[in-house]
């Protein structure tokens, strides 16, 4: 597909041209950087590095109503599907994360809530030319300009964005604003490729994950897990803000006679996550919970779907209050194997 170019000062017009769809872009909401709907008077800036809250919350909201009912009633009113959305400025790691999670939600039985939103979303990515410190996407199969999961890849060329449509959905989006986009020249493409290469070189953290999927279960009784879990607070930061973590809880809520069944993010690091009603807990301490977290990402998920459930975005490293560093853990695991 032909590459296109958009002058930076026309970004606003570009967004306006997509008015049939809801456009989301990284914004500072309160004190947090997250994806939020773009409204007319807001200055859109794509200069944020990774958002604190990953865009998974657009396709897999933290809390989502599944259906409504009335106490004593027998009618179940399913939530209606949502609108078409465009996510602008998604980092390649977050887009890859969605294609990783797609595996799970379309496995065997389709999850209608996730897939409905996922199908109606167009991901316009932005290559990471200045990857933050704790990124390690190349180690887990991605890269600062990875195209997996994206519909369009944008690259910041200084005064303009290079648009590389990757899917029919991406092409359609470009057609909506065809008068703003100009064809890009060969030198633009070459420049972008060079920037991508340079960006990849800037990533310093790395870990070799070869052999982890088969090897991890052999470290079941290893002291590593104790070491990892000892400072762990058992909070949900690393899992809630992980773009590939997808576990959820289902709860019924009542208010007067109105009720809803909803689902919300859950974390394998919480005690109640696996707690049986009898009081028995198959994962009684943080040691087992951390072990499950790492195993799930690098072994179980690989067994089931053939991909690692980690995209190297570095959020869990950046935000962990006690410096539990997944790259560090994996290097220790590698050593122990």
């Amino acid at each position: 597909m032909e590459s296109l170019k958009l002058d930076k000062d026309k970004l606003k017009d570009f967004i306006a041209a997509l008015d049939s769809k809801k456009v989301y872009a990284p914004q500072k909401v309160g004190e947090t950087i997250k994806f939020a709907p773009v409204n007319g008077d807001l200055e859109v800036s794509l200069d944020f590095a990774n958002t604190t809250v990953p865009p998974k919350e657009i396709v897999f909201p933290q809390t989502e109503t599944m259906f409504l009912f009335e106490q004593g009633g027998t009618d179940i009113n399913l939530t209606k599907g949502g609108a078409e959305k465009v996510l602008l400025g998604v980092r390649p790691c977050d887009a890859r994360a969605m294609s990783v999670v797609d595996n799970l939600f379309s496995w065997d039985i389709d999850d209608p809530y996730y897939l409905d939103k996922r199908k109606k979303i167009t991901l316009v990515g932005l290559a990471c030319l200045e990857p933050p410190l704790n990124c390690f996407c190349p180690s887990v199969g991605g890269g600062p300009a990875s195209t997996e999961g994206l519909d369009i890849l944008m690259t910041d060329l200084g005064d303009a964005y290079l648009f590389q449509p990757l899917t029919p959905k991406g092409e359609q989006l470009c057609q909506l604003s065809s008068e703003l986009l100009q064809p890009a020249g060969a030198e633009d493409n070459a420049r972008a490729e060079e920037l991508h290469r340079e960006a990849e070189k800037k990533i310093t953290r790395e870990v070799d994950i070869k052999g982890l999927a088969e090897g991890l279960p052999s470290l079941w009784k290893s002291e590593i897990w104790k070491e990892v879990a000892e400072p762990c607070l058992g909070c949900g930061i690393c899992t809630y803000l992980c773009p590939t973590c997808h576990c959820f809880d289902i709860q019924d809520e009542m208010e007067g006679l109105d009720g809803r069944r909803c689902r919300m993010w859950d974390s394998c690091l919480f005690k109640e996550y696996t707690l049986h009603a009898s009081g028995h807990n198959p994962r009684p301490s943080r040691r087992e919970r951390q072990r499950n977290r790492i195993n799930h990402k690098f072994s179980y998920f690989v067994d089931k779907f053939g991909v690692t459930a980690c995209v190297g975005c570095g959020r869990c490293i950046n935000l962990c209050p006690v410096n539990i560093d997944i790259v560090d853990i994996l290097s220790k695991v590698k050593e122990a194997l």
Partner: protein
């Protein structure tokens, strides 16, 4: 969203009959349930060992095994121990009350593969509920199986489920039933002691036999040891696992033991599979 394909949308069902199997703090109640919708009733099919998410709107859902065999009729039966929030609400249901059912989920006991063999079920406490469908299934297809041995124990005689049915079993041809309680009681004619030792007492031969066990984790652990002592091969031993579940369809993530989801890959596992999963008996 298409209503027909939403796996989270439960079917409404009505309690037909309800009775207590046992009494006490953690009492067990059995519900006989019929789907409200004729079409659902007709299209429903399940096999022994499968589970459903049953629930009460406004309270929540729990994964409960179906304790009847499809050979018994167009209804479902659940035997539920009172434990948490949802099971408490289920215990309050009386005939005519509504509950929600979705499923059936998980795999089943390979009862078709077992044809021509003798089956030994070893249950403890509420663990008899998922074994009951096997018993009923074998009874209904009696000529297909060589025989059936039922080994079942509970803490006291009052904690035994399905008492009357178990009594009737003795009259069936080729079926033997062995009961036990943990503590000596006046007037108890059967074995006193734990289920694993009753198993040794009964001493079933591994020849052309399948052993299925279900009960508290500690019992399963010793039953498995004893079955090995009796020379049962790993492939001849089956058990079921349980974990906290929310979705039932392999999405919510919490029921995994190692790389297996209990709700999808289980709840029925052969010991040959489980012995390599380190988390299985945690």
């Amino acid at each position: 969203m298409n209503e027909k394909v939403n796996p989270y949308k439960p079917y409404m069902a009505t309690v037909q009959e309800a009775w207590y199997e046992t009494t006490g703090d953690r009492c067990i109640k059995t519900l006989k349930v019929l789907f409200d919708d004729e079409e659902v009733r007709e299209n429903w099919s399940h096999l022994p060992g499968q589970c459903t998410m049953i629930g009460v709107l406004g309270v929540g859902e729990s994964m409960i095994s179906i304790s009847c065999s499809p050979t018994e009729g167009k209804f479902l039966r659940f035997s539920v121990m009172r434990m948490g929030k949802v099971t408490q609400a289920i215990h309050q249901l009386e005939p005519g009350d509504k509950l929600t059912v979705r499923g059936p989920y998980g795999n089943n006991f390979p009862v078709e593969e077992w044809k021509g063999k003798r089956i030994v079920t070893i249950g403890g406490g509420i663990g008899q509920a998922p074994l009951r469908p096997i018993i009923e299934y074998v009874k209904a297809n009696r000529s297909d199986y060589e025989g059936l041995t039922v080994i079942y124990g509970a803490r006291t005689s009052a904690d035994l489920c399905f008492k009357n049915e178990l009594k009737d079993l003795r009259n069936c041809d080729g079926v033997s039933c062995h009961l036990s309680i943990d503590i000596e009681e006046e007037g108890w004619p059967h074995y006193v002691g734990f289920v694993p030792s009753l198993l040794m007492e009964v001493n079933p031969s591994p020849e052309n036999t399948i052993a299925v066990t279900c009960g508290p984790p500690i019992m399963i652990k010793f039953v498995l040891q004893n079955l090995k002592k009796l020379n049962f091969a790993d492939e001849q031993i089956y058990t079921t696992l349980e974990n906290r579940m929310k979705c039932g369809i392999g999405k919510c993530g919490r029921c995994n033991v190692g790389n297996l989801y209990v709700c999808k890959d289980g709840p029925v596992f052969s010991y040959a599979t489980l012995k390599n999963v380190p988390e299985a008996f945690a």
